[in-house]
């Protein structure tokens, strides 16, 4: 039902469907329509142009009415195309099901045969078959059906192999059903939709191919005429009577086009990725559509990074997922800020929003300002933004396998980063890349620079990721869970390298993690995020020693301490609220054991004194 509605919503597919239906209805009604005999010759009336009296589309070289011949020819072409599709589907699917269901040697033998047939160019094979059977419409039909058999056999085999090992088939097998019964009761009903879809996408080709063979004079023989042979006859009069070739060609084109439109619609409707909008192409920078005017910049030398009231949303169809709901952050030169929260709290989206790297569509930044050295990245032109990216501010991402280009040597990826920002000759850039790889303690860096990412271990790849971030001597590095995908033993090494480089170069660092243990090792200050907002912030040691927000307290309680004996690890009950349905008031209230009525209404501000702040009406007591 939904599928039908989706096809309908796709206007082009609907258009194709309507045209196709109209053509089929007219072809079916041909015997009932008041048409002259398509084969009646009238030498006196020959080659009349279209729109002449008594012959709407004109006449051909024997004076036959073209409209009548067109409709009867369409009828024949459709019938032959559909028959070829049915035959190809029946034979191909049978081979596919047998091969997929039986497996082993039978599968191997059948599929090698199919591969052999596919080694021929499609049309050539059809020609060879017609050569054997002799010219004629039925033989052309067989030929077209035969060359489409491999397509069905391969597709259906693939589906069957997947089904043959599923639980419900095993269950039926154990219940003592025979092979043939299994195929008919368990496999065929599941394969049938695939067969139908495969037919709908190939039927246009089959109509086209049979018409082609007829056009060459190898299909329908006179006086019987399908669209292809009409076109073939018309071709001989191309210059004196072009309408005789244009008319049947338009009809073939209309049929094939509407079948293709409809087929595309069916495929799109069945592709779940298109429904979710996941196939959208992310733009070079996240779209910024601020609801209000930009907050004015503070006077004088502010911090290196100042984020004010940042809001980032994902707009998917009519739904809005507010991932970041008004975040303020500030980082001084040389400072390390830890941004901590559960997965889905919006910390990564916050980080990516800073240089507008959130995939867009669907991401949109709807409010706030991100000032780097006083300049707002959200207001920048693409070229200005590009110059900051990777030069003044750089990123280290979580999964180093997915985030490095799989087909480029790691050294080249570093060279590219260097040369994107400075006119360094290739050789010099390569030397700098190798030196950087040495700095992140990659052994034998000169040789490793020539490796591809898949040839390196996870820890080595993340070192490359760090090298990539630091190679242009940035002022600020944003590290988005850089150790989460790694082994614990490797993690420690990576953190040590990062911390060492930070201190040596006086870098600022925004470190995103869900691990308080890592924060305590690395960060001067910490900001705790929940459901898209900062709920608590302060110096790391103080927040760890005396958390004020109930969420922070519970989060710290989740961290196991070595040597702390058999302390109970407390998971936080419940889940964070879905970001498209945030509750009013405190987002943590539904999971909080101190929540009161007041917590569920109005906005709760992030308030505090000195360098500590908390967004809670009932903060935890600070021990005196």
């Amino acid at each position: 039902m939904t599928t039908l509605r989706l096809i309908w919503r796709n206007r082009l597919a609907a258009f194709g469907g309507i045209v196709l239906c109209a053509v089929v209805v007219v072809a079916l009604l041909a015997p009932l329509l008041p048409l002259p005999d398509p084969d009646l010759t009238a030498p006196a009336e020959r080659l009349k142009p279209p729109f002449s009296a008594g012959a709407l589309l004109g006449t051909d070289h024997l004076g036959r009415d073209l409209l009548s011949r067109l409709i009867w020819g369409t009828r024949l072409s459709l019938a032959v195309g559909i028959a070829a599709a049915v035959i190809a589907a029946a034979i191909g699917s049978t081979i596919g099901i047998i091969a997929g269901f039986r497996g082993g040697r039978i599968d191997n033998l059948l599929m090698r045969g199919i591969d052999m047939l596919m080694a021929f160019p499609y049309i050539l094979l059809a020609l060879a078959i017609v050569a054997v059977l002799g010219p004629g419409l039925v033989n052309a039909l067989y030929a077209v059906a035969a060359v489409n058999v491999p397509f069905f056999a391969r597709n259906i085999r693939g589906v069957t192999v997947g089904l043959a090992h599923r639980e419900f088939v095993d269950a039926a097998r154990l219940s003592g059903k025979s092979g043939a019964r299994l195929v008919f009761t368990e496999i065929l009903p599941n394969v049938l939709p695939v067969i139908v879809i495969a037919m709908s996408t190939t039927i246009g080709w089959m109509i086209l191919e049979t018409a082609g063979l007829s056009f060459l004079g190898l299909g329908s023989q006179p006086p019987q005429a399908d669209l292809g042979s009409m076109l073939g006859e018309g071709r001989k009069l191309l210059i004196t009577a072009p309408h005789a070739s244009i008319v049947p060609g338009v009809m073939i084109f209309l049929i094939v086009m509407s079948v293709n439109l409809l087929g595309d619609g069916v495929r799109d409707a069945l592709d779940p990725r298109l429904r979710s909008g996941a196939l959208s192409r992310p733009a070079a920078a996240t779209e910024v559509r601020r609801k209000a005017a930009t907050p004015a910049a503070g006077a004088g030398a502010g911090p290196l990074l100042a984020v004010e009231g940042l809001e980032t949303e994902f707009q998917v169809g009519a739904r809005v997922y507010r991932a970041v709901g008004g975040v303020d952050l500030a980082i001084a030169p040389g400072e390390c800020l830890g941004l901590i929260g559960e997965s889905g709290s919006g910390k990564s989206v916050t980080a990516l929003s800073l240089l507008r790297l959130v995939a867009s569509p669907p991401g949109v930044i709807t409010a706030g300002a991100v000032r780097i050295g006083g300049e707002d990245t959200l207001a920048m032109k693409p070229e200005a933004l590009r110059r900051i990216r990777g030069a003044r501010v750089s990123y280290i991402f979580q999964d180093p396998l997915g985030t490095l280009h799989p087909l480029l040597r790691v050294g080249d990826q570093l060279v590219e980063a260097i040369r994107a920002h400075a006119p360094v000759p290739r050789r010099a850039a390569w030397a700098r890349a190798v030196a950087m790889l040495e700095r992140v303690q990659i052994p034998n860096a000169a040789a490793r620079a020539r490796s591809y990412p898949h040839e390196l271990s996870g820890g080595m790849r993340q070192r490359v990721g760090i090298a990539l971030a630091l190679v242009n001597d940035p002022e600020l590095v944003i590290a988005d869970e850089p150790t989460t995908a790694l082994d614990v033993t490797v993690q420690a090494g990576i953190l040590a390298i990062l911390d060492g480089l930070r201190r040596e170069r006086g870098l600022s660092l925004l470190f995103i993690t869900h691990d308080f243990g890592v924060v305590s090792q690395l960060c001067d200050r910490v900001a705790v995020m929940y459901a898209g907002r900062i709920v608590e912030t302060g110096p790391t040691a103080e927040v760890l020693a005396a958390p004020r927000h109930p969420y922070t307290r519970r989060l710290i309680a989740c961290v196991p301490e070595i040597g702390a004996g058999r302390r109970r690890l407390e998971a936080i009950p419940g889940l964070p609220p879905p970001v498209d349905a945030l509750p009013e008031g405190c987002a943590f209230a539904p999971r909080c054991d101190k929540a009161a009525e007041r917590c569920r209404t109005g906005q709760i501000a992030l308030e505090g004194s000195g360098d500590r702040a908390v967004r809670c009406l009932f903060p935890e007591e600070v021990p005196a």
Binding site: L124, G249, M257, S280, G390, L407
Partner: protein, 315 residues
Amino acid sequence: MLGYTIRRLLALVPVLLGLTVIVFAIMAMIPGDPATAILGSYATPENVARLNRELGLDRPLVEQYFIWLGNLAHGDLGRSYSLNRPVLDEVLERFSATLVLAGAALVLCTVFGLLIGIWTAARQYGLVDRVLTFVVLVGISIPSFWLGLLLILLFAVRLRWLPASGMQAIYGGGGLGDLAAHLVLPATTLAVVATGVIARLTRSAMLEVLRQDFIRTARAKGLGEGRVLYGHAFRAALVAIIPVIGVQAGFVLGGAVYIETVFQWPGVGGMLVTAISTRDVLLVQGGVLVVAASYVLFNLLADLAQTWLDPRVQT
């Protein structure tokens, strides 16, 4: 890479042998008696039997196959009775013309298919994307033999810009410019469908790659959009596109049958259509075999190119 190439070349041997078996089997299935076809229906039974013996047609089929294969190895594909010349000579002469046409078409469809695919992916859902996507759909739906006729009507008959048929002008032709002028219409016609197929695949492959994390890394490095698109996204998408270009080579070689008929290009496709009508079995056999073998070789090249571009599959 060298070892892989050698292994692939060795794997080619059974495929090519399989091709010869299929071609031989198809031709052996042809009803009727070649000797009668050659001598005409007034031949005496004694003469038919003698010719059958001379042609080796009275032996078992398997033996016939190996004799045929042995002759093939010596470059002997038999003699075309309708043209009265060796099949190999005729086929090679015709095939060189087909190669010119199909090669030009393949270059056209690859270049334009890739460009259109990249452009439409880069401007997804924009005006350029919508217009080009529709044009591509028209391109893959239009019957090539009909498009050829329309182009002849427009450019040869109406505008008189380009010649409508043949490979060279009959009088004073033969230059490269002359060949190019004759090549424009048929090569364009032949390339249209394949261009559409490659463009569609390139668009979806590019969209697939553009969502990947390493594209975000490329942007985070501060690379320009052109570099991201061509140096990173296209480079990764190409690995998925190349096999399809290989398949399109088959469509172009096969589609040449229509185009050569429409434009009277002196290639192997037009020869096959005539040979089927005159039931010149050996000529059909030779033509099919040569075209199919060249398709297999082309797919091997596509395969090697893919391996060369993707270091992950090299072993």
